[in-house]
Amino acid sequence: MIAFAIHRTIRKSYGVPSSPEHSVPRTGGRSAPAIETGRTRILMMVGLAVFAFTSICVRLVDLAMFQVAEEPATARAAYKAGVTTQRGDIVDRNGVLLATNLTTASLYAKPNEISNGDEIANQLATVLPDLDVQSVAAKLNGDGRFMWIRRNLTPRQQWRVNRLGQPGLDFQTEEARVYPQGALGAHLLGYADIDNKGLAGIEKAYDESLRTNRDPVQVSLDIRVQHVLRDELSRAVAEFAAVGAAGIILNVKNSEVIALVSLPDFDPNHPSDAADNQRFNRATLGVYEVGSTFKIFTTAIALDTGVVDLSGGYDATQPIRISRFTIRDFHPEARWLSVPEIFMHSSNIGAAKMALDFGGETQRAYLSQLGLLDSLPIALAETGAPMIPRPWRSINTMTIGFGHGIAISALHLAAGAAATINGGLYNPPTFVMGPHNASETSPAGRRVFSEATSLKMRKLMRLVVEKGTGRKGAAPGYLVGGKTGTAETLSAGNYSSDRLLSSFVGAFPMNDPRYLVLVMLDSPKGNTKTKGFATGGWTAAPVVSRVVQRMAPFVAIVPIDEGAPEVRRELAIEITPKRLRLATY
């Protein structure tokens, strides 16, 4: 079109008539060179125009088809990002959600824009019945610029407040930390404050990671097993009117914590409602003199160092008197006892003599290898430091032999006991799985005892449940082995027989242990069912028995026939070697 217009203009300017019959220019006239010049010019103009338009076209095609990267980014998909929260989720080992952030609305007011404070306060009280009407009304009538009325409303409350139609009220979108499983796992998970800052447990230990990382933190708990343990412990606490209880289930092979309960517990959704007693973690923070369960270590050390053999033994006829202490047996047999007998009858005299045999130095070295003399290398802030005697005299060596004079946490005990039965390898306990697990120890563990010692310990622990003090810990088909413990606790500087710490460390199946169950009851009271006894064998062992039976299906352990010859052979142990009996009598 433009070229056409140019053509017309040129014709006009040269006085050429526009009619078709005169359209052929005359040549050979005086104006011929001028016409030639004109044509050349026209051609040049056309050439320029064509060049300009072609380049514009090329650029257009280029922009339209090949310049994808410079397109505006409106077409980008937004959904890949997903829901972003201020704090990551916590899930259990099977991916069950244990903690998450939900968007909520928080109600605030601008008092300087409100004239009818009393009316609003009264209206709000119909939606939020526990609102302190007077103080809110007073604040609303003031001339502040901002005040929170209630944070983290439920959707229904928000709707009802909206329906009041008061212009001075407004909502701020916030995030609230929610623990759908309630008190289950509360002590391990911990809790976060209203501003989403971790204050205890995993929430505190992995605070940074939860804030910055989008992936959930996976804890090693199995919430089903956790429930079983909590349920059975609660029952025992109610039955024996105990002050509290602690329970731990460990994977024997790698010391992963499968369940960890401390009673009384609390609802992490409302941590401020909980008393200090409820928030206290008895499983990891509380340190106790655990009593006879400690004989697991004493016996293992004695067997490992070779100071005594399974066929050896000690004279437990007389209580030991040393300085102002007397070491006596709770279940006195008052005779020479073989090592298996010392273990199954839980003889303090025997254990003390055993400890004296291998000596304080060795004891200290082994206990240190078992991680019992230092705080556990775990991320939790709620970690109790063991109380150990300084200096370590021979009286200490003897009392530590049967679990007195040293205070450790339940988790210390569980991890140490796992090392004695899993083939002799110590692994520090862990709570977290996957990329968040920063544990530096190799999965192989640290060798403390020999394989042979470990096998002997398995046999001994099975013996305790089969014939010794832990008979109530048996769970038919699951080959439970264990050790009872009953310690008098210190109150006002004296050991009191009214306040016992009754415990049972069990593991199953004993021919190839997979899980360790530790139950500890604080100050249980005996009842008619237990014939008045409140010892570990009567109170804690039955809990372990029930926990094992209930948890086994979840962890895919099928019951076996405990009486089968190959099973019996595997764990066979001679209690009173004839050779020695002849020699002694």
């Binding site: 937004a78 959904y79 939900l102 349920d231 209930r550 086994a552 019951p559």
Partner: protein
């Protein structure tokens, strides 16, 4: 001939203009649609996030046990184990010979089955 060319070029120009605007409007519409979809997806993700928390809440072992107690009375056995070895299940045909495993005696099998029933 020239008129024809003019008409053709004019027609082409109009067509190009029309096509251009048509495409532009279509793209705008699609972009709006995409924006709406993205918003919906985010909304849905938010709902799924809340539903997950709700599911975890409804899935509490404690609650499941209560429900099982009321709706599955056959399992209400004081929380006793409900799993046994497959060999211990009674055979469908009573005449079928029962072959006990090496680790199990037939009498054990009977007592366990008895307990379960």
């Amino acid at each position: 001939m020239k008129t024809f060319a003019v008409v053709v070029w004019f027609g082409l120009a109009c067509a190009a203009g029309f096509a251009l605007f048509n495409v532009t409007f279509k793209v705008e519409k699609l972009e709006a649609e995409l924006g709406e979809l993205n918003r919906q997806i985010l909304d849905d993700q938010q709902s799924i996030h809340i539903l997950k928390a709700e599911w975890s809440y409804l899935d509490r072992p404690e609650r499941l046990e209560t429900l099982a107690d009321s709706y599955l009375p056959e399992f209400k056995t004081d929380r006793a184990p409900v799993s046994i070895r497959i060999e211990l299940l009674p055979t469908r045909n009573a005449k079928e010979a029962y072959v006990p495993s090496a680790a199990l005696s037939a009498s054990d099998a009977k007592t366990t089955i008895g307990k379960r029933q």
